[in-house]
């Protein structure tokens, strides 16, 4: 693939990951934290952030022996073509599922907020056309656009969480342990799936080239994303006390609607709609590119662009599977965000451990032969 010659730096990679990890903030992350942790939803966000960072450090340490190789390369290293295809198919199912569901969620949310009379398929096609254009432009365009836009998205986010400061009430996050230590530190572990977007880093390693960039970009992205995830859950709970917090459909939108400084600084949710749509489009474009990229690499296809339209049709069709918004939300929050850790962290660690063991054994064999 021509993209193999493309190299991007630390900030570009980090920006892509920051958007991939934080796009859920604009959907339902603060609410799901409140559902699980109660008044301690923000502690749960902090806990999974620490876990994700520790796991990432472990993965980057294991990855140091496979610099420049993505998960498919690791699969191939372990099991040849069969290994590559198995890993590729697992990743394809994983990414296609979440991108299709997120596409549906964003379209539904847009319909609720701004386009109530438009048919859902029409709204999905809006996003899909952007995804197709992004995939045609390629990963370099997508990544460079992320580097430029992500700071703007972060600034918009800061305006929203700062703007609702007059509504903060510290007593809203009491009792401090919310739904209890087990809900946070026990079953809350599986919410590490909120960092499943890190899989993009493990797939784009060939474009990053050096292990140093891999580690620093990943650390920077997890650091900034943790800040965003924790502050989103904390701000939402400071403004909407538990249990009212678990009712909100779009937490950050609901926060933005409250901002009201005098007669002139009102209706800030228009900023929300803009940054939200941009973040969604960037995330979906990146995810859609990964689908066609992984497919072409899995099956050793020289060109990925002919796959774009067929894949777009598949994604469009899957996005229409959920019979309603509630089903789409449940598919994301109940199923995906509970199980995605198994692919992003579980499979990656497994591949790295097995590949590492094989490499060590091969080295030993080579040493014996010598």
């Amino acid at each position: 693939m021509q993209e193999s010659k493309i190299v991007f730096g630390k900030w570009e990679t980090a920006a892509l990951l920051i958007n991939a990890l934080n796009v859920q903030v604009f959907l339902n992350f603060p609410r799901t934290m409140a559902e699980r942790g109660g008044t301690a939803g923000w502690i749960l966000a902090a806990y999974i952030s620490v876990l994700a960072f520790l796991l990432f450090l472990l993965i980057s340490r294991l990855y140091s022996r496979f610099e420049g190789k993505d998960l498919l390369d690791l699969g191939e290293y372990i099991g040849g073509s069969a290994g590559r295809i198995i890993v590729g198919i697992i990743i394809l199912i994983h990414i296609t599922f979440i991108i299709s569901i997120i596409l549906r969620e964003f379209a539904e949310d847009m319909k609720v907020i701004s386009l109530p009379a438009s048919p859902i398929s029409f709204v999905i096609l809006f996003f899909l056309s952007g995804m197709i254009a992004g995939a045609y432009a390629g990963i370099e365009a997508i990544v460079r656009f992320h580097a430029f836009i992500v700071p703007i998205i972060l600034a918009g986010y800061l305006i929203i969480i700062g703007g609702v400061a007059p509504y903060y009430n510290i007593s809203n996050i009491m009792p401090i342990l919310g739904n209890g230590a087990y809900a946070i530190f026990g079953s809350g572990f599986f919410r590490i799936s909120s960092f499943s977007g890190l899989i993009a880093l493990f797939l784009l390693f060939p474009f990053i080239k050096t292990g140093k960039n891999f580690k620093s970009a990943g650390s920077l992205a997890i650091g900034i994303s943790s800040g965003v995830l924790i502050t989103s859950a904390l701000t939402f709970l400071l403004v909407f006390p538990y249990p009212s917090a678990i009712e909100g459909f779009l937490p950050i939108f609901q926060l933005a609607r409250l901002i009201n400084y005098g007669r002139f600084f009102q209706r800030v949710e228009s900023i929300f709609v803009m940054i939200w749509a941009i973040a969604a489009l960037l995330y979906l474009s990146m995810g859609f590119f990964l689908i066609v990229y992984v497919f072409s690499k899995t099956f050793r296809l020289e060109y990925y662009r002919p796959l774009i339209i067929p894949m777009a049709i598949i994604v469009f069709a899957i996005s229409l599977w959920p019979k309603n918004l509630m089903s789409a939300i449940a598919m994301e929050t109940v199923y995906f965000r509970s199980a995605a850790w198994a692919v992003t962290f579980g499979m990656t660690l497994l591949l790295l451990l097995v590949a590492g063991a094989m490499k060590k054994r091969n080295h030993r064999k080579e040493g014996d032969r010598k």
Partner: protein, 437 residues
């Protein structure tokens, strides 16, 4: 390939133009509702009154900004209203859409007024839950309870000093910052307190003043007799009872108290001031105090809250004991007796004002616990930090325990300024120094 990519990018960009295909709305194709009134219906569940802006009249009125209110007998061309009976708010909107030429838009609605009947039977809370679901209703909208009919209240509002009727409501309900007689109870705040386990809701109280002559004024309409006052103070009234005649008929004064979904009582203007002081939302206002030295004379100060109040809550024999400390600053505005409180007697006034406020605040606190059984101050939310988990807190049943609470109040008043007068010189007459009448 570059051409294809550029073409696709252009195609994607043009998609934004398609957003008008289904949802395009012109600003002048909408009817902007600025106030909604809900009463019990005669022929249906609800009687809904919509007050809407008439932009053409606003543009041609020639009235420019300015402050002040309105509401009166004269016709206001900048607003229109419509009343209908319907089974629910949304079905009512459908019925209105069938009547008015332009589609009803609620995104500029500033206030939602519920009749006392709806508030007392719990349906007001049910209705607010329904409207928080709709994105059309903004969370900053003021929620108020009307003493009497909400329809009558809204129809009594005819802004004459304001070209923009929505500005009239914004100013009216933010006036609590310099009167202290109501609280700006927003839909968001009302809604979360209805679901809170540590606080209960209040709503601004509004009403229509029906007096046409000063002869109709009566001390009996005030709460002065209950407070053993010979004459009422400025805060001793509920909305609709103020001793005034004039063009402005609609009044906002006092608070409606809720216990769970039902309205269980009313606070007058003075109690609302005390409520704001205890919750830390008090801005500043002119407050009248009895003169501590000369009976039947009054001292008026501009009183403001200098610090956030502090609370100390503990359990004594399983009952909450709540200590509230409030710090206030005052500027003398009027000393009727002419006594030099500014210098030698300042301490006497400060102690007297503290005692007066402590008694008033304690009376209010005891009313909320013993009479209303409603923690409208949110003491429970302060006490939550003593618990480790939500289940422990929930099982504690704060709202049930609140009715047995005991209170201790400490108010600290410090006079900071004296206006433009630093002392009072005696008034001179033919017989020498004359005492104030």
């Amino acid at each position: 390939m570059k051409r294809t990519a550029a073409f696709l990018l252009m195609l994607a960009a043009t998609c934004t133009l398609l957003s008008g295909c289904y949802d395009g709305k012109e600003i002048d194709d909408q009817t902007y509702v600025i106030a909604i009134g809900l009463d019990k219906g005669e022929t249906n569940k609800l009687r809904m009154t919509l007050q809407y802006a008439i932009p053409l009249a606003m543009g041609s009125s020639g009235v420019s900004g300015g402050g002040g209110g309105g509401g009166g007998e004269g016709e206001s061309k900048s607003i229109g209203s419509m009343t209908l009976e319907c089974p629910s708010v949304y079905s009512g909107l459908n019925m209105v859409n069938n009547s008015v030429g332009k589609q009803v838009n609620l995104s500029h609605a500033k206030v939602m007024v519920f009749s006392e009947d709806l508030a007392k039977d719990g349906r007001m809370v049910m209705l607010t839950r329904a409207i928080t679901r709709g994105k059309e209703f903004r969370p900053n909208m003021v929620v108020a309870v009307s003493r009497g009919s909400a329809e009558d209240y809204l129809k009594s509002i005819k802004p004459r000093q304001e070209a923009d009727p929505s500005k009239y409501y914004e100013l009216k309900f933010s006036g609590y910052k310099y009167t202290g007689f109501i609280d700006q109870t927003q839909l968001h705040d009302f809604f979360i307190k209805e679901e809170s386990t540590g606080a209960q809701a209040v709503a601004a109280l509004v009403g229509v003043n029906t007096k046409n002559s000063t002869k109709e004024f009566s001390v009996g309409e005030s709460s002065a007799p209950q407070k053993n006052r010979p004459v009422p103070f400025e805060g001793d009234y509920l909305a609709g009872n103020l001793p005034k005649v004039g063009d402005i008929k609609g009044e906002a004064m006092g608070l409606a108290v809720f216990n769970g979904p039902k309205m269980v009582g009313e606070l007058d203007g003075e109690e609302s001031t005390h409520y704001l002081m205890v919750t830390g939302k008090y801005g500043h206002a002119y407050v009248t105090f009895p003169d501590p030295i000369k009976k039947d004379f009054y001292i008026v100060v501009n009183l403001k809250q200098s610090r956030r109040p502090t609370y100390k809550i503990k359990l004594v024999d399983g009952k909450p004991n709540i200590k509230v400390e409030i710090k206030l600053e005052a500027d003398y505005m009027s000393i009727q007796s002419g006594i030099n409180y500014e210098s030698e007697y300042n301490d006497i006034f400060e102690r007297s004002a503290e005692k007066y406020l402590e008694e008033g605040i304690k009376r209010l606190l005891n009313r909320t616990s013993a009479e209303f059984h409603s923690d409208i101050f949110g003491f429970g939310n302060q006490y939550k930090s003593r618990f480790l988990t939500w289940d422990q807190w929930k099982n504690f049943q704060w709202l049930d325990r609140y009715k047995n609470s005991t209170f201790e109040v400490a108010v600290d008043v410090k006079v900071r300024r004296t206006g433009l007068t630093i002392r009072n010189a005696p008034i001179q007459g033919s017989e020498g120094e004359v005492q104030s009448p």
